[in-house]
Amino acid sequence: MAEPEGLIIDAARQATAFVSRLWDNDNNVPDNSCTLSTCRQRLEFLLSAVHGHAVSLRVAQPPPPPSALSRLFGRIPRHLIETRPLPANDGATIFLPMQLHLSEQSELSPHYFFRLLALQQAARAQRRAQQMVSADALLTLDLFQLSEAAAADHALALHFAGLRHDFAALRRAMLSQRPQPALLNGVEQAVEELYCGVLKACPYDIPPPLALARKPEDSLDWAIEMSMKISTRARMPAVRYRGCAKDLWWGKMLPPSSGNQPIRYEEALRDMTQPSASPRRSANLSRRPQARERTPDEDDETQGMWMVQKDDPQQHVEDPAGLQRPADRDDDADAGDLADSLSELPEAQLISSSKTVRELLLADDPLDQRTTLVLPGKGAAHGIAYPEWDFRVSRYHKEGAIVRLQPPLLGDVAWAESVVARRPALLRQVQLRLEGLRPRRIRYYRQPEGEEIDINACVNAFAERRAGLPPQDCLYQSVKAARRDIAVALLIDISGSTDGWVSQELRIIDVEKEALLLVYLALTKLGDPFCIYAFSGESAQNVSLWPLKNFEENDRTLVQRRIAALEPQLYTRAGAAIRHTTGLLTATSARYRLLILLSDGKPNDVDRYEGRYGVEDMRQAVAEARLQAIHPFCITVDRHAPHYLARVFGARHYAVLQQAETLPVVLADVLRRLIRQ
């Protein structure tokens, strides 16, 4: 006989499992095999091919959960509450959900849906980019979006005949999920009829009363006219239009992005080189709050007359200064709780800090803001002035930029050992790729001396002697190691933006360091002279260069410790760094000289070295290098690089990394391609 406690526990377990199954069924557990992350790169390639330029694809964030008050008193009908992320665009960037929650009876695999949704949103974004129009009233806005979406589908169906089945499947799937007509009022039913009319029609056709809108302005005119008609027909001006249930087809039209907003910067409170005492905690964010701008009066220095503090302030996940978050006070606090609290915020302010990261909250769609950190002990070294190109006046500024060679910091040698121990497969891959470059033993024919007789040369010499020509003396063949005569310079960008995280464990700088270490280990075996320099800096007066390895240096431990000590610094004034490295390469006696730049974005600095000025100076520096018979090449993780890199380095002289983690292998591949014999 079982104990009563056991029975209760067992019953509770069964009940929990039953509720859990019910919950799962209700939420239609999606097919996890195809998520946006598995096909994102493929979709980005497809969009690039279709539109002729890079289209950025990001993860759509789920809507913030409604607060308890809005649940209690809100007037949002149940069928209009958004629970899942929807495809969207802001006129430039495409947002797709990480997973598609499709019913099991879905005719197409998720990948085909992803493909169609990406093409749809990109086509809508393209129309928006041509002409930005917007409507104020919700009814007009919804009708406008409907007309635009139908027009975008029409254009897609016209150019991509092969998508016909996909269109039909998506529209059928959406049609089966529409809300009951009984839930809708008169105006909403009219909009619902229009929407269902579109879903039932073939994508080539625009069902009346919709008309094919050649440009967004036509859609707006139609939407205004139609909204007036619907309101008149309903004859009930008191009936309020509450909205239309949005689905994957309808998607969302986000406001255009305003670009990078300035981030508040908090001074370093302690030396950043000090390792953190407490271990770093990490958790996943289920959704990322929108970045919001700071309101002018949110953190006044002086307190107002009503600010009488009776109790301790309530702890809140978002503190205006980012200093007194609950998790900062408690080293043992669970990062997961913090992630949950943060996920519930609709928006949050961004603050940049040089303090060591204490907890890492990973979102599917990270922010693309650049962070900046303070350089320790700058300006001590002696400077070398380089001219800088000003495209506005088409001439050089003589004083230009000053390069200061900084003594490299020494890191922990154990780091290098741990990388080699952690990534034996990657090291092997890099070695395999560079192995073919080792100076092979090559058979040289027609040598004055050698181990064997060259029969061909002898026959030739014999024939020529018989023809009355002077006798040849190069009649031997010999096997020797081939001399390639190549010098390589690796120039690494360690600007602040390399502080960005590419995975739960690694920042861009970590990936760069690992790639450098692995390629360094492989290159030392080749025997060709090479040097490694890291660069960053702030302003024209302080372009810092850290020599990690000079051409003649052979101390492996020292180089490894220098690589280990690399940390993200300030800005990217690439022109001066390229000019300095060009000078180093020209001083070598090698016949072929190769300059490889590892970069993570456009050149930028605190002053005018931003935008076109920086790009043009970099282009000039690369042209100068080329004039001195140096072959420059760039590897970048900036996926929008093709726009400017083709201009700077020339077509086929750069490579764009699709995944930062592949850097070591790509670097080895580039080296192999450029210096193979």
């Binding site: 493929r42 390639f45 497809l46 091919a49 092969g162 020529e464 018989r466 023809a467 190549i486 072959h631």
Partner: protein, 281 residues
């Protein structure tokens, strides 16, 4: 003494390798003034360099011009083992005698043919330097082995091709060589012309040819995104031939257009998606 006799290229058998001008006009659709420029270069004894991506019609253009100018055409595909002797000629021992065998370049110089050196950057430097005296006012070919100085026959013309896309640190044309040529830039033809070429060369239907050209246009947009080689007109003609012979369009594009271009799984998958979206079986 028979041993020291030098038999030069006057013998009959050395001329047998020279291809005769084709009787049928090789199909070529001009994109600009290249035909008239080439004709003038031929008349003024100027050497010509054809620059352009692979498979865009450089070789076909030379064949067409040889036919139009009624000249023999000698084509040499250069490789990294090609030496000066391979172009100029060498002594051979034959029938107890030493015989001088002309190389293809010497044959062209003697017979007044058009000599086309395909992918000349691949050849070794000593081979490239041999052509220098033929490309300036002298128009002579010195053969140090025989002590001859051959003056080029008036009909002789040197044409080289060069693909600027194949970037390599150790392989490039020296400025002193480049300056000896009139350069004609080739690129893939505009869509209408490319479709016309495909229809002529493959017998494909008009609509299919246009679809293929539109597809290629979109795939060419991926050149900056990691695609090492973009689909050439030659690749499109091969695909259209498969389709014209009954292979389903999507399958033909997968095997003849997409797979040869890349090994990158994501790129290949994206190109296949594009094919599936644009074409119907």
């Amino acid at each position: 003494m028979e041993d020291s006799l030098i038999q030069t290229a006057a013998s009959e058998n050395t001329r047998q390798d020279v291809p005769h001008p084709q009787t049928e006009e090789p199909y070529y659709l001009p994109f600009g003034d290249e035909v008239s420029i080439f004709t003038q270069c031929h008349r003024r004894h100027l050497a010509v360099m054809l620059k352009g991506p692979t498979g865009c019609g450089k070789t076909r253009f030379v064949e067409h011009m040889a036919w139009r100018l009624k000249r023999l055409l000698i084509i040499v595909s250069c490789h990294d083992d090609l030496t000066a002797a391979d172009l100029v000629g060498r002594f051979l021992i034959r029938d107890n005698a030493t015989v001088w065998q002309d190389g293809p370049l010497t044959r062209a110089v003697r017979t007044g043919a058009i000599c086309y050196l395909d992918e000349v950057v691949e050849a070794r430097q000593d081979a490239v330097v041999v052509i220098h005296p033929l490309t300036d006012y002298r128009r002579v070919l010195p053969i140090d082995k025989t002590g001859e100085l051959i003056e080029a026959t008036p009909g002789f013309q040197l044409v080289i091709s060069y693909n600027p896309g194949y970037q390599h640190v150790t392989k490039d044309l020296k400025p002193s060589t480049r300056q000896r040529f009139v350069a004609l830039d080739f690129d893939f033809p505009p869509p209408e012309r490319e479709a016309e070429i495909i229809i002529h060369e493959s017998g494909a239907e008009h609509a299919m040819a246009h679809d293929l050209v539109a597809l290629a246009g979109r795939i060419r947009g991926l050149a900056d995104r990691g695609l090492a080689e973009v689909p050439s007109t030659r690749l499109l003609v091969a695909t259209a031939r498969l389709i014209a012979n009954g292979i389903a369009p999507r399958l033909a594009c997968h095997v003849a257009l997409v797979s040869p271009l890349s090994d990158d799984p994501a790129l290949v998958a994206a190109m296949r998606d594009l094919v599936d979206a644009m074409l119907l079986d």
